[in-house]
Symmetry: C2
Subunit: 247 residues, 2 copies
């Protein structure tokens, strides 16, 4: 039995739900998780409302090995992620001495006032560890299996780079893509048979629509190269066999 | 009290969670909902697993006025949305006579076989209404407050265009954006004061990071023009007043 590690993501922010900002962190996290062998199983986008954030975090943190959040850790009044995560874990949200000192020095060095707003960014749940932010100093944090990161994509990515080496990774889900020039209506039947014959694989079929015609990207996924190759070979043979009939 | 209409979205598909496909429907739905005065309050991305789809649909359909799903309504074995929605509503999933006849004629006209796979696309929960698909015929459907649409963006968008006129819309949330050349650390304090003084508005602060410096997009939202203008004016005045100090 392969070691399966799972994760969920919570995207926090009214601006994503209003459409004003288009999320770019979900796709990035998904790519990174796939690359390191962690299965991203669920994503939720929630508004800047404490009850919603607390409920979402508590719903997923017991179900999956890891949780990653983006957004809401800045210095303004609508940045309520640190408070919400603290509430979810039932611990106080307070200034972290190390973060406070680090940020105080950072602003002093640049001749900038360490405003109350900036101080907000040094608050985190009691017992949390920092996630370093090489871009703009104010750290994210980890508490339990929940990793709290910024919503600005360049900072989210930099923080995630710092988190990845700390994660326990599973057996990578291998995958191969097979181009199929026919629509799903042609291949649906035989493809289902192949899936049935190869229960240790996940065969996905992704329709693409271009200039009035469908084509399909077929993706075979498996935990072992042997399982992957066996199913992929049958899928390729199916596409070839259909060639004359469907063309 | 303004009439508030709420919605949730469920994105169904392993390919989004694996990163192979980058979602383009969330942002589109968010834009459309905002434009017509419906508040998108939650989005969930779930895998192609029946239990997960059923649980997500049932979790959100009682909480919000409308639910929109994308993905999993094609002809292949991994397209299990119709079955899952039927299960969520406790009704059988069966061939819809009208959809079946329409699709049969469509394929006959094009000289294509009406395969078992294609027939799958005529299945929907008993009692569901069609959502027309002007792109590739196979319809989506509506049952109760749940609107089930395709994952292919061009088809999702075309189906949504057909759904929008059927929706009860609320009082549109008006918004205005104010460019702020300073980072959130500078404005966090005064901005929180303005938010406190204008509880009938939602003031969002969205940090942007470019070439080593932060700037901020400030967005004021309100249900009435008066409330919007009053708060926006104070935000603009705040930014101007900070000018010399923060520059």
């Amino acid at each position: 039995m392969a070691d399966i590690i799972t994760a969920a993501m919570i995207v926090i922010g009214d601006e994503i739900l209003s459409g004003r900002t288009k999320d770019r962190n979900i796709g990035h996290l998904a790519d990174v998780m796939t690359a390191i062998g962690i299965d991203l199983k669920e994503v939720r986008i929630v508004p800047d409302e404490e009850d919603e954030i607390v409920a979402a975090v508590n719903a997923v943190r017991s179900r999956y090995d890891y949780v990653f959040t983006s957004g809401g850790i800045g210095p303004t009044h609508d940045d309520i992620t640190a408070d919400s995560i603290s509430k979810a874990f039932g611990v106080p949200c307070e200034y972290d001495d190390k973060a406070y000192a680090m940020m105080e020095a950072h602003y002093a060095k640049r001749g900038l006032e360490f405003t109350d707003a900036r101080k907000r960014m040094a608050r985190m749940p009691r017992g949390a560890d920092h996630i370093d932010n090489p871009v703009s100093m104010a750290p994210g944090f980890r508490i339990g299996n929940v990793h709290v990161m910024a919503g600005v994509p360049s900072i989210f990515q930099a923080m995630l780079d710092n988190v990845v080496p700390t994660l326990r990774t599973g057996q990578k889900l291998l995958s191969t893509a097979i181009h199929c020039p026919f629509g799903e209506g042609v291949i649906g039947g035989p493809l289902a048979e192949i899936q049935k014959a190869h229960p240790d694989t996940i065969i996905g079929s992704y329709p693409k629509y271009l200039d009035g015609a469908f084509w399909t990207e077929l993706v075979v996924r498996a935990r072992t190269q042997e399982a992957l190759d066996a199913a992929a070979e049958e899928v390729r043979a199916m596409v070839e066999a259909l060639g004359p009939k469907a063309a």
